[in-house]
């Protein structure tokens, strides 16, 4: 298959965590990309949703002058940055100026020190599949290094339409935020149809590692989503269900004052999942 050379193509990377134990099996490096097509009310990192539109508001407030304007663009000096998050708090556009545009070789170079200690990498975001060509290229390089390549996705892009990425992906970790069309639209602003299609597709090609649902009592019909989603995966014993407690950390807007689920609710949901025949359940 012909592919256009990607050596100089860059993607907006928010950060790279050298070691992560929460992004798939074993120890992994996690690469986070800027930009997301969903606008979830409970988003923990709303500053990762949009690409910077260079309005310069943040440049004025940076206390250590790590932000500057070159031509029409806001530039970030990561050496100077003190990580105080003033820019993110000031941004009214759910974005961040602290982005590095990297090539796949840049990403490989950034994780070189980690390679002896990791099973592989996981790409996340934002929504990393927005950069499917870039990630496909990255994953080919990762595989050549003898490591595995996982995608953490909310399933907003039809995976059948991006075979160049899915072919080189070992497994996907997929968010199932809600199985109800109306609720999903209320929560994310988008339909859940493509997400559920992706779930079935990934199961059919044995590329699903886990599904995850954030539990928000009083706002979402958690039991319905967990019940239906766990039944969907129950025939695949290796697929894990991860239940995530809603936490207010990082959240902006309406859900900020929502209650955090207690352990008994999480236990009840876990029992429901197990009752539906899924034995691999994690609560975080």
């Amino acid at each position: 298959m012909h592919k256009e050379p990607l050596a100089n193509v860059k993607a907006p990377v928010i950060k790279i965590i050298p070691f992560s134990c929460v992004d798939g099996p074993g120890n992994r490096s996690a690469v986070f990309f800027q930009g997301c097509g969903f606008h979830c009310q409970y988003c923990h990192n709303p500053e990762t949703i949009n690409l910077c539109k260079h309005c310069r508001r943040c440049v004025l407030v940076c206390p250590v002058k790590a932000l500057s304007v070159h031509g029409e663009k806001v530039m970030w000096d990561c050496e100077r940055c003190c990580g105080c998050d003033t820019c993110i708090k000031t941004c009214t556009y759910n974005s961040s100026p602290r982005i590095r545009y990297m090539t796949t070789d840049d990403v490989i170079a950034a994780i070189t020190d980690s390679l002896p200690f990791i099973q592989g990498i996981t790409t996340s975001g934002g929504e990393c599949t927005l950069y499917h060509h870039f990630i496909a290229e990255l994953f080919e390089k990762i595989h050549r290094l003898g490591k595995t390549a996982f995608v953490d996705s909310n399933g907003q892009i039809d995976f059948r339409q991006i075979p160049h990425l899915i072919d080189v992906t070992d497994k996907v970790m997929l968010d199932i935020k809600s199985v109800d069309e109306q609720e999903h639209r209320m929560l994310t602003g988008q339909s859940c149809k493509v997400v559920l299609d992706n779930l079935h597709y990934l199961l059919s090609i044995d590329k699903l590692f886990e599904i995850r649902t954030v539990i928000v009592p009083g706002i979402l019909d958690n039991f319905r989503t967990v019940d239906i989603a766990s039944k969907m995966i129950s025939a695949w014993p290796t697929v894990r269900y991860k239940l995530i407690k809603f936490r207010t950390w990082g959240v902006k807007g309406a859900l900020l004052n929502t209650e955090i689920p207690d352990d008994s609710l999480m236990k009840e949901l876990e029992n429901l999942i197990r009752h539906n025949g899924v034995s691999n359940v994690v609560i975080v």
Binding site: I14, F19, S20, C21, D23, G26, N27, F117
Partner: protein, 494 residues
Amino acid sequence: MQEILSIVKDPELTFNQRFIAMAKAAENMIDPIELSEDARYFVNQKVVFDMDEGKAPYRPRYVTPDYDKFMAQGSAFLMLKPPKDIWEAVSNLMILYHHVPAAGGMTVYIGHLDRLLAPFDQHEEETYRAVEMLLLHVDRTISDSFVHCDIGPYDTRVGRIILDLSAKMQRPVPNMSLIYNENTSDEFALKAIEAGLVCSKPSFVNDAMYSKDWGSRYAVASCYNVLPIGGGGYTLGRLNLMELGKLAKTKEALMEDLLPRAVKAQCEQMDKRIQFIVDDCHFFENSFLNDEGLIEKDRFVGMVGLVGLAECVNTVLDVNEREDRFGTSEVANQFAEEIVDKIYEIVAAYKPKHGRFYLHGQVGIAEDVGLTPATRIPVGEEPELPVHLAVTARLQKYFATGIGELYPFDATAKTNPQSVLDIIKGAFKMDMRYISFYSSDSDVIRVTGYLVKLSDIEKLESGKAVLESSTVLGSGAKKGLKILERRVRGFNHA
């Protein structure tokens, strides 16, 4: 007189702790070891140090008896027959523990427990009770976190019981190491990691490295001291590289003059102390362990301990900015390696009267302030974990009598113990010798090599006596070595 009175009246010491302190005070009233002028100079400069083992050493610092042999033959001196079942096995061991000498008064090695007990493991429940009794006995009588047991590399039921009990009992005693090699199943290793994340033990031993130094008959004792089984360590000297660095005006002065002299001075002090133990006190002629072949003179070695490599490098290179300092700067790391290479050469060439000398990464004592253990990177200056691991592994190659590094992991690692195993496997492939880890939310934590309960430190600091003498050291290290400020590792989600 004042010292004696303060010992016998110390409200923070139990009777046994006072008793040991009194013996030490008596020993220190004489000073029979005569040093050369140059050696005395380095002692006075606090570069060469005998670790306060006692001025008149009459026993080796560490004795690591051949417990396997003891199980097979019993002991004529102790009037014990070889055990026939798990209860006799445990009882015989508990008896022998009280007859194994050590500089601190209490043994630092209680054997390779799963290997010793596996032949007697008939019924799981009975074995569980017997092992629990043994661990309880050791914790409540030897009561010192420097006492160490080993397990592995094979997955055995006894090994699993020991791990289960360690997680359940939540006690710092005994310290524990898992001998890890290609025969250790991932399943057993993961079980050990799960235990480690709730009770800070076992640590992992890179058998590929240590078996090159010692063959298969070695023990991990005390903090992480690696010694031949059926022998031990005569004495542990400590070369304080931080103090030596202060004396050196230039790199050349250090490498060409001060370092060679100081290493020789340290070796001389150890050599003379060992001669006192062997030739003047006739330790071996005085020991039934020797008569019965549980220890042999030619399996004892001397340990040259190092501390403060980081401070030495930073002082001599006169660097203050983080990017120029040891741990981060390649120039500084390279210099550190040169220093260790040089020390190794001199120590390997030194011919003491008894045994041979090997390097040891000393972890510090409670009184140390601003002195980084062994070849470690100072707390607060740790680079990203992958770099930290690589720098650590690179500086550990010569430390045949033990060196270790420890990493507090974020509690989320408990949901994914495989992530810790991946790190250990990677580090061991880079020739790291020994890794300890604990979870940031544990009560039992590792100080520098030994374990303490944080809740016991709090008790001690409120003026109450506690069972473990090592808690007293831990309290000092908490303040002097900033142990609670170590960089917690990894594992944040974006």
